[in-house]
């Protein structure tokens, strides 16, 4: 069966590249917000202000890391799953000998792979431009911790996306979730500002939410030095969220299948 997921990944990549202009210009979606954030941060610091306890070079590295992390671990509602449920495309998936969850996981990350590569290239050049060094100022330990965390957070991000998308079983149209997430997520995940600059009460809540594990913690790990003890706690908490969403998704899938209308 693993050969199926490899084959599916290859086909999905080919599909993503079917429209070259769209494919190539997609990097602007990553480049423009990052450029805005970096220039704004630099402007704020040159005027003599400071954001929290962050030094400018660390903050710039945080934003660059956040760009990479938000590509690696983006969440939302996924149009493909919602449509499968709403219009009956799920019928074909149900009768085939593979897991619908892992099928979508492969498609999702195969499509993401393109953006992740773009994000890494842009991040590298941004680091070179702002630091003046061709070798980015990232500790090997930080990189290692980031990739270990990615092994937990990548499935968590997809699990949250899958979980939100299968709410279509119950609501049929879940556009409202996309809209709410579109407004809230950049703030609560730490994409716009590092979460530790918020007032203590809000910060304590935000850093415990699953969204913090998608951008804030991976970016902090890449841009700062986390001890193994601190890192272990982050990892354990991410694992707990993974377990919670696994259980939640299983319940929603089981209940959703019971009321699935199989339209068409």
């Amino acid at each position: 069966m693993s050969s199926y997921y490899i084959g599916l990944g290859k086909q999905t990549l080919k599909e993503a590249m079917a429209y070259r202009t769209n494919f190539i210009l997609s990097f602007l979606v990553i480049l423009i917000p990052l450029a805005g954030e970096l220039l704004l941060a630099k402007f704020v610091y040159t005027k003599g202000y400071q954001i929290g306890t962050w030094q400018l070079n660390h903050l710039l590295l945080y934003y660059i890391s956040a760009t990479v992390a938000s590509e690696f671990f983006a969440i939302g509602t996924w149009w493909d799953i919602g449509n499968d449920i709403k219009y009956g495309g799920l019928n074909y998936h149900l009768i085939r000998p593979y897991s619908y969850f892992w099928h979508n996981f492969v498609v999702y990350y195969s499509l993401k792979l393109v953006f992740i590569v773009f994000a890494l290239i842009i991040a590298y050049f941004a680091m070179v431009i702002f630091s003046g060094n061709f070798i980015p100022d990232i500790q090997l330990l930080s990189l290692l911790q980031f990739f270990i965390l990615a092994l937990i957070v990548a499935p968590l991000a997809f699990l949250i996306t899958f979980c939100l998308s299968i709410l279509t079983f119950f609501f049929m149209d879940i556009d409202f979730i996309s809209k709410i997430l579109g407004v809230l997520l950049p703030f609560i995940s730490g994409n716009i500002l590092p979460l530790d600059i918020f007032p203590a009460t809000i910060r304590e809540i935000l850093i415990k939410l699953p969204s913090a594990y998608l951008v804030y913690y991976p970016s902090c790990i890449l841009s700062g030095n986390y001890s193994w003890k601190e890192f272990s706690w982050v990892l354990i908490e991410a694992l707990i969220w993974l377990l919670i969403f696994w259980i939640l998704t299983s319940i929603l899938w089981f209940r959703g299948r019971k009321i699935y209308e199989a339209t068409g």
């Binding site: 149900l94 085939r96 000998p97 019971k258």
Partner: protein
């Protein structure tokens, strides 16, 4: 009868709820009884046709048999499995095609999309190429294989989707309205292809359609569904013979003679014209009698086509 060779339904009911009015505060719902107590046994050595009007329950029945939907009550066993449990072993042995519902990727050449079949079901590239060549020949497909689906006509897309549904050579394939929206030539090609695959590869097809020829050309057995009930279950040819009537229209010289013929053969009178309905087995004898006993000036014989027969069965119920 070997259990793994059958489709068995015992007192199967399926109902679902549908919204009848849209309201923010109090939407209303209606319970639809799509399948009402169907009991059926079919051995998969022969194709099975499911015929019925729109809303008869054909597609719901296919969804129950494939395990896409659970029954509200009753028992279903297909190839020895309970479909709704969707066991991997069961899924490997079935295929599904739903007319008008795409399953292939639009933007890449069809052949690359079709190749996913071998990844899903785990057969070799050689087998894939051999089956593809065989299916393409039977369906008269050439260079289209190298085109993306988005550049194909409906008929070509339909052929590709159909191939994808059973390139893995399952034992049982469910075809839901396979010829819907296609022209006469393409329909005929698809029916020939289905028969070819049945004979060549031993695939059993369960075909739901409101196109009578799909059933009569491809299925030895059939069921006729109406409002979730089975009206007929059995041999397709027997059904055709049982309901086969000929319509004889004759013109005679006088109204008296027409009246006499009409009363003798229980016909319909229209001036000097008489219209007689006879069962096909009696037609020869009736014609012989008419020609020997009366002076017939004009004569027309029409055999009811299969569509008329199925329509009549549905109307009579």
């Amino acid at each position: 009868m070997e259990k793994g060779q059958t489709i068995e339904l015992k007192a199967v009911y399926k109902s679902y709820r549908t919204k009848t009015s849209v309201s923010i505060f109090k939407p209303t719902y209606k319970e639809i009884e799509a399948i009402q107590g169907i009991t059926l046994t079919h051995t998969i050595t022969e194709n099975l046709g499911i015929f019925g009007k729109n809303g008869a329950g054909k597609t719901t029945l296919i969804k129950l048999l494939t395990g896409i939907l659970p029954p509200t009550s009753g028992e279903i066993k297909v190839l020895g499995f309970i479909p709704y449990k969707l066991k991997k072993e069961f899924k490997k042995q079935i295929g599904l095609f739903q007319g008008g519902k795409g399953q292939l990727i639009w933007d890449i050449p069809a052949i690359q999309s079709l190749e996913l079949s071998r990844y899903i079901y785990g057969y070799s590239k050689d087998e894939f190429l051999q089956r593809l060549a065989d299916f393409s020949k039977a369906l008269d497909i050439g260079d289209e294989l190298n085109q993306p689906l988005r550049n194909m006509s409906l008929g070509q897309r339909c052929k590709m989707e159909l191939m994808f549904s059973f390139l893995h050579l399952p034992r049982l394939v469910f075809l839901d309205e396979p010829t819907s929206g296609l022209d006469i030539i393409t329909r005929s090609n698809l029916r020939s292809f289905i028969n070819y695959c049945h004979q060549q590869y031993g695939i059993c097809f369960v075909i739901s359609s409101h196109n009578v020829k799909d059933i009569t050309d491809c299925c030895k057995s059939c069921i006729i569904l109406d409002k979730g009930h089975i009206l007929y279950q059995g041999d397709t040819n027997y059904l055709l013979e049982k309901y086969q009537y000929d319509i004889i229209t004759i013109n005679v010289d006088s109204e008296d003679m027409a009246k006499e013929i009409s009363s003798k053969f229980d016909g319909k009178l229209n001036g000097t014209q008489v219209i007689l309905e006879t069962s096909s087995s009696d037609t020869d004898e009736v014609i012989t009698q008419l020609l020997s006993q009366y002076n017939i000036s004009a004569f027309k014989l029409k055999r009811k086509d299969t569509e008329d027969i199925f329509t009549e069965i549905l109307k009579n119920e």
